[in-house]
Amino acid sequence: MKELALHILDIAQNSIVAGATLIRIGITEDMQGDLLHMTVEDNGKGMPSEMVERVMNPYTTSRTTRRVGMGLPLLHDACRAANGMLTIESAVNEGTRVLATMQLSHIDRQPLGDITGVIVLLFSANPSIDFVYSHIRNGNSYIFDTREVKELLEGIPLNTPEVIKSIREMIASNLDEL
């Protein structure tokens, strides 16, 4: 995986599998502190603490189709390669928070990639889950919240093709202006 946006898509997939109904995705780019900071937070079924400790190890997975889990270890590698780290906090029946940090200017830091595309894909492919995406760049912030959009559109499904296109446009132009 060569883009942080794809890691986010993958980590959010864990939240979906964990039965989350609300997933918060946050990215902070801080040039002054030379820090990039990425969180995926969910209200899914969570994990017991022994599981949290083991989860950075690729031989930890609850899937039954393949014996190793790759998602978190791959992100862990990406963090370490860029002088950062991965932290996981989780509580059973409450939820999980995955926090990845990286040195923003590090030569081996993966590029952000198509983050707009990932957010759009997540909400359009998972109509029953709500997503909050907040992006802070050097103190300026943009927040996109599907609950807000659903209320505004009064029952028009967000995965209607025309709606998807318009929301993509909205997120992209707001990110450009950060």
Partner: protein, 132 residues
Amino acid sequence: MTKVKSLADLKKMKDQFQSKIELREKGEDPDSRVQIKVAMATCGIASGAKTVMEFLIEELDKRSIDAVVTQTGCMGYCYAEPTIEVKLPNQDPVVFGYVDNKKADEIIEKYIKNGELVDGIIPMNYNTIDNQ
């Protein structure tokens, strides 16, 4: 058409969205929708599932096919990622492997439009524990 930049802009388009939906619903009964699931476990994403999913959403709309594309977890075919499951109305779902944009195009044109079989079908015996 002006660009949508804010929630207020989005709200202004509500009627337009609504009429598109009504137009679409007029000709078709809801049971005639094609349902597609894209496998999005780590191996799927790493091998290009995002690109394929975006291609499907865009092309199905362009070609005026009433379809809903959702994501699912692992379907158990790491070796054949990206994989997608296609369910035509009143038919059993079929899983296709090694789906890049070219294959997706072929699946739309041959299988979805005409019900013709195309290469790359994976026999169905997969374990859907992650799918629930």
